[in-house]
Symmetry: C2
DNA sequence: ATCTATAGGTAGACATTCTTCATATACGCC
DNA sequence: GGCGTATATGAAGAATGTCTACCTATAGAT
């Protein structure tokens, strides 16, 4: 397995944020899993690595909770791929996750600044 | 178990941030576990809840990694309590955790803004 | 024609970090 | 003496990750 420069410094995900990042990505358009991962990695400036072993279980649980639907379709390269689509309930969930995240983040920063 | 107003809206910790918060708290002074938890909760504006079941295991692993030392001493209320002290290596670790946290955070925010 | 890289997905063992619940003990106050 | 608060321990279980490995399909290079 070749290990190129872009591999070197990826950080681990902050646990609990992957679902939010996936939901957010899907506000843009329906996408298949692989594309979601690439999108997140690219937008993050290649800081975040979305492992397949994290991605696909996450996609499953998001579906199980009714926040995504999925169906098979052809990918741009001709292969079949499972396309995920945000549901209205998923969109509400994203809003909830973002505000909770912001709240927690502000709290953490207060501790870091004032401790 | 009475459930007063300050109970109501505490958020869960962002997994992985507790160690950082503990280390940061101990830059202030040596403290016992219970006081560390209170300090974090208070500084966070009562947004974060530090459960005992998270706190004490965290303190143990921080010691095991050499970032804290501890010894028994009397608490202000007269009871005995275990006082934790940051080691130099713990202070370096804190720096590393903060910069990693900042990096990941910036990455997440790029995804949230630009997706 | 085969090789190899890339795209895309599935599966499972394992690690880490939390939450929840239960238990224990010491002190201070009524 | 009983109650509330302070302080600590431990174990069960969930959630979320990582790592490793495997599988299939297509495209492009040799």
């Amino acid at each position: 397995m070749p290990r190129d420069a872009s591999d070197v410094e990826k950080e681990e995900l902050l646990k609990g944020t992957l679902d939010m990042l996936i939901l957010q990505t899907l506000t843009l358009q329906s996408m298949h899993g692989y594309a979601i991962a690439q999108h997140i990695e690219r937008l993050s400036g290649d800081v975040l690595a979305v492992e397949q072993g994290s991605l696909y279980p996450a996609l499953e649980r998001l579906q199980k909770r009714g926040w995504l639907t999925s169906k098979w379709g052809p990918s741009p390269t001709g292969r079949r791929a499972r396309y995920y689509t945000l549901t209205p309930s998923g969109r509400r969930q994203l809003g909830a996750e973002i505000s909770s995240f912001d709240r927690v983040l502000a709290a953490i920063q207060r501790v870091l600044e004032r401790a």
